[in-house]
Amino acid sequence: MIEVRKLVKRFGLKTVLRGLDFQAQAGEFVALLGPNGAGKTTFLRILASLSRPSLGEVKIAGYRLPDQATAVRRRLGVVSHLPLLYGDLTAEENLKFYGRMYAVPDLGKRIAEVLELVGLAARRRDLVRTFSRGMQQRLAIGRAMLHDPEVMLFDEPHTGLDQEACSMLDGVLREVAARGRTVVMTSHDLARTAELASRFDVLSGGLIAASVERGEIEPNDLLRFYRQAVMEA
């Protein structure tokens, strides 16, 4: 589903990604771990077609980036630590706007489903700027799922969320994974990641330094695995 070969990303003289190789099969849930500044967000932004690779090949669902970016974006849902929502629109209006951007069929029904899914049906007519951080993030997840994408990218989605919102997010993530969607998620929360992902990749020094399947490692060993991978990179 996702295929990345020899990906290089440079910002001026600074090289962030140095020939990175990455693959994710359909239905796989990959947790992308790494220290701050390792290039996780840069990598996700390239997958999301928001940033252009300097060198290398990126394919998602068989479509090449950046040449076939429109076809890729149709199959992508992106959740970042920012909600990508308009404060002066209501929850329902925000979804209506994004639904029109994605040409979602039967939009009214779909919005009702998504609001129910993220637990905001009762607040559908409230302005987003009156929402708490957790509620905005829940709506952001609804926004990303509105067009039912095949691939979902989560960039540190637990940032700034309280325990209740984190649990709700975990529920949505499990639901997404259960439906066979391909998920790539960056996170610093190893405990939560250990319960959710089917594979753990460590990005360090601009490369995937280590990768392990969930079945190959005990949940308690994830921290040790991560530290070792970062030290060896």
Binding site: T70, P83, M101, A103
Partner: protein, 246 residues
């Protein structure tokens, strides 16, 4: 909220979206951007109120600063009007793009599966609507304060063409500068030199209509205005994708 089981079925199967024709998807996205900007502005009134207050203050200050006889008035009116529209327009363009930067909304727009020129035209149409709204309020007030009739078809045409050119290049540059920390300062620095051909042509043709000069003499300026409108719009259409991408 309880961490409950989620059993909602999706109405869209993966890879089987009812893909509408490319044109209707393009127009749908373009209209969605305009609709979103209008609704948000209707609620906040941040953009229009800033533009209006600024415009009225400028007109009022000029009214007191210049002791005008009717002859002088017809020669300076075009300049006063376009100074007002240009600076108020910059305020509006800055504010319009700042709302996209807030909460990362620009990324949300860029993730949409449409040709990115639809985003540009959507934003430009919204900005044009706000500029026209301010002009529609400013013109009668100016007419009353300066005892001049500004509701002449020729002058209205010039104002429409000048606004289109200004907004066309302004929306593109506002999208570029919105990423910068000093965007409020950067936009006018970049915009005014580029918009000079439009502003000069607009001032000259406005002045011509106000002084009752023969239309044949004004036509070269009007043509220039029209050409710049087309060039700016075409260039913005071609380069917008590169401007917004990292």
């Amino acid at each position: 909220m309880k961490n409950r089981a989620i059993s909602v079925k999706n109405s869209v199967e993966p890879g089987k979206t009812d893909s509408p024709s490319a044109t209707s998807a393009y127009l749908g996205a373009l209209w969605a951007v305009v609709w979103k900007d209008l609704i948000a502005e209707l609620r906040s009134r941040e953009l229009l109120s800033a533009m209006l207050v600024f415009s009225l203050l400028v007109i009022l200050i000029f009214n007191f600063a210049l002791e005008l006889d009717p002859q002088t008035r017809s020669t300076v009116t075009a300049g006063v009007l376009w100074v007002t529209f240009a600076f108020a327009g910059t305020l509006g363009l800055n504010r319009s793009m700042a709302t996209e930067k807030d909460r990362g909304c620009l990324d949300g727009l860029l993730l949409a599966p449409v040709d990115r020129s639809a985003l540009y035209f959507g934003k430009a149409l919204g900005n044009l609507f706000f500029m026209f709204s301010v002009e529609l309020i400013v013109l009668p007030i100016y007419s009353a304060l300066y005892n001049t009739n500004l509701f002449q078809s020729g002058l209205l045409l010039v104002i429409a063409l000048g606004s289109v050119g200004y907004v066309a290049v302004g929306t593109l540059l506002a999208t570029m500068t919105v990423q910068a920390r000093t965007r409020e300062v950067l936009l006018p620095i970049l915009l005014f030199p580029l918009a000079i051909p439009v502003l000069i042509a607009a001032v000259k043709s406005s002045s011509g209509f106000l002084q009752g000069i023969d239309t044949a003499e004004i036509m070269p300026w009007l043509n220039l205005l029209l050409v710049y409108d087309v060039i700016f719009t075409a260039v913005a259409y071609m380069v917008f994708d590169f401007v917004v991408e990292e």
